[in-house]
Amino acid sequence: MSADPARAGIDARLLEWMSEPQWRRDDERFRSLALELFAHQFEHCEPYRRFCVSRQATPDRVEDWREIPAVPTGAFKELRLACFPPERTSHVFLTSGTATSQRGSLHLDTLEVYEASLTDSFHRQLLPDLAAGQRIRIEVLAAGALEAPDSSLSHMFEVAVREFGSPESRFAVEGGKLRVPELQARLREDAHRGDAILICGTAFAFVHLLEALGERRMQLPPGSRAMETGGFKGHARALPRAELYAALAAGLGIPETRIVNQYGMTELGSQFYDSVLSDPTGPRRKLEPPWTRLRILDPASGDAVTPGEIGSISVLDLSNSGSVCALQTADLGRSAGEGFEILGREEGAEARGCSIAVDLLLSEGAR
């Protein structure tokens, strides 16, 4: 729990919300917590306060959570955006990058709200059929937290394995490499044993696995599911999502309706999942946990676009209580019913020009 009593109070109310048996969208509760949290972050995060003042958006003026100034995620590369003194930092998660590029960092003084948010969403969106106390084998196509202590993705998988994984759960990346032969052996054993598994990792790791499988086919047990996250930026082998899902269905025997994409980022405490497992009869879209709000904005004006139009994604995530809760991303999306969809730049799409983007150039070493 945060050492700051005001924030501890906000965190306690958030934890209570996250522990409720059903997700309940409560606009008044959200508004109240958002404005309170904004006032707290304005007071305790110096760079954020200056930013808000420059926009003339101060707690005494802001009445609607939509008016809370959103910090561009790129600012996490430049500034320490935390509401507590550096000596209270317990965890720092870094965005991907290389020695030559700046990496964004999320500073945390407590993992309580962060883990409560991720655990709740992970359970509801990926394991809605898992009975209380029941566990499932989780195969993670990523490194564990010991090997990648500053990776928020590895931390998320560690927590998921800790909370929901059976003792046979494994991390398939060791020493920076996907250990394909051992992974294939475990998957063959799963197929033979007949117990459903959850296989999760980055989209690129799945492509690597599929390439290793080649023409061979596996039939993972009924009830198995896959979760993929991240794109292919900087990787030579890019695959449009539809093709990836078709290949996963053919290669691993997991129906496309049981493959879930997750949208998340280091700078955010909460994650957003496809609805295919939590709402199998509805269309595929991403659902917001009740303590988040996602808006689609026109990049030039910053105004909300008409529902269904494409725009950049702005998130207000109350679980970011120790840093800044309102974030502006450069990702594209559009609303879809009561949810939304992410529109990544079409994988493999040819650039209009021949100039290399500096961020891509600097991230090349991360391949």
């Binding site: 420059s54 030039a300 650039a351 020009g353 290399i356």
Partner: protein, 431 residues
């Protein structure tokens, strides 16, 4: 198209190539000189058709596209082509294939085009023909116009040569068609490093690959270029360099480094660039910006705004609706370049500091526009060359490389040629 039709087209072209190889180089050169002169002439039918159709297809504003072509093609004359041939292949009359066979083109050349800037496509399509190698080209998905028009212009001037330049249009992610195209003896490929890696991995053994990856360019101003009329002049010229092709070309500057003069010189430069970009917008308007690019640009503008508000010594100048932006940085740290008329201005203490700052770019550096170094300009140019730049020029000339530009440090024709040495077969007399 399907893989079988690509293979059949390649086989047919290779057969056509045998007749092409019988033709004297001088004769082919005359035809290609005429083709190039046609493209260079703003009033030519080809040029006018390209201008009218490419703007709609690519989103470049017509005025900006026209100026880009004008500047890019102004030096691409028939005599310039002849000079490149003589410089790289030697005397044209010697006719290498017929006399000593020391330089010849491959039996077939596949050209994989990318992006929507026409000049690289034009050159990539014509150069193999000079070496009497027939060309099967895959047009860029972003530019379905240029390659078809170039092929028609060649066929109109020299029908036999036109038969040796054909197009194979298929989606970029069609691996089977790509594999069929890669059966050509020589492959010229343009695109991102990721695309080129894929092509290299799929290339059958024994094939020649000439790859042109994505690149970046910069401008470097010495302190004496950052005052008075000189600054106005150089800022206008750099605004043109950035405005043409909406800063999407490999010769578009992404950053301006001001050597010496501290933050004040950088701020003067940033301010002059802002004025010049505002003016450039009236003459060469920005084109269509896709949603993803607009989001990235807006994001970087917000990051700059936040850093400035948080106390960093950063200033932001921006045009209406974010149509251009200049960020004056406090240091030389490379940061994201979202393109579309977004320039960062960095102060650096001296050339040594510049070398450290630009080093991460070095492998991808294409052009450097430089001014204001007085007696030290030779040392500065040597440094830029050492950093990997192959086009070092004055501001305003980045988008006008000569026809013989050693892109990526390579000759224009020789990478497309197979060379052999034929020594005398007469036994050497015993001494």
């Amino acid at each position: 198209m399907n893989p079988e039709s690509v293979s059949a087209q390649l086989a047919s072209l290779t057969r056509e190539g045998s007749a092409l190889r019988e033709r004297p180089l001088a004769e082919i050169l005359v035809s290609l000189e005429a083709v190039l002169e046609g493209w260079r002439d703003p009033a030519s039918r080809w040029r006018r058709e390209l201008e009218s159709r490419l703007a709609a297809a690519t989103g470049f504003a017509p005025e900006t596209l026209r100026q880009g072509l004008e500047l890019g093609l102004e030096g691409w004359s028939g005599p310039a082509l002849r000079a490149v041939v003589e410089a790289e292949l030697g005397s044209i009359e010697k006719d290498h294939e017929a006399r000593d066979g020391s330089i010849r083109g491959y039996a077939s050349t596949a050209v994989i085009l990318a992006g929507s800037i026409p000049m690289p496509s034009l050159l990539a399509l014509l150069t193999p023909l000079l070496l009497r190698s027939p060309v099967l080209a895959k047009p860029a998905s972003r530019d379905p116009i240029t390659a078809a028009l170039v092929a028609r212009s060649v066929a109109e001037i020299d029908p036999q040569l036109g038969d040796c330049l054909q197009l194979a249009a298929f989606p970029g992610h069609d691996p089977a068609c790509t594999r069929a195209l890669l059966q050509a003896e020589c492959v010229v490929a343009m695109g991102s490093d990721a695309t080129l890696s894929e092509i290299a991995a799929a290339l059958p053994a024994g094939r020649k690959l000439v790859a042109h990856g994505h690149r970046a360019s910069i401008a470097v101003l010495g302190e004496e270029a950052t005052r008075g009329h000189a600054l106005e002049e150089f800022a206008s010229a750099l605004a043109l360099d950035a405005a043409l092709w909406d800063q999407l070309g490999c010769l578009s500057p992404i950053a301006v480094y001001v050597v010496g003069g501290g933050h004040e010189a950088s701020e003067r430069t940033a301010s002059a660039l802002a004025t010049a970009l505002e003016y450039a917008e009236t003459r060469w308007p920005a084109g269509r910006v896709e949603a993803a690019a607009a989001a990235e640009r807006a994001h970087e503008i917000e990051v700059a705004r936040m850093r400035a508000a948080a106390g960093a010594r950063v200033s932001l100048h921006e045009g209406a609706d974010g149509r251009w932006a200049v960020v004056c940085e406090e240091d030389a740290q490379l940061r994201a370049a979202p393109l579309h008329r977004f320039l960062r201005v960095h102060p650096v203490e001296d050339l040594t500091a510049l070398e450290s700052a630009v080093e991460p770019l070095a492998r991808h550096l294409a052009g450097v526009a430089q001014a204001g170094f007085g007696n030290a300009s030779t040392a500065a140019e040597k440094l830029f060359a050492r950093l990997g730049a192959s086009h070092i020029c004055a501001p305003g000339r980045l988008q006008a490389p000569p026809l013989g530009w050693h892109r990526d440090g390579q000759p224009v024709l020789l990478p497309l040629a197979r060379l052999d040495d034929r020594q005398s077969t007469r036994p050497r007399a015993a001494s």
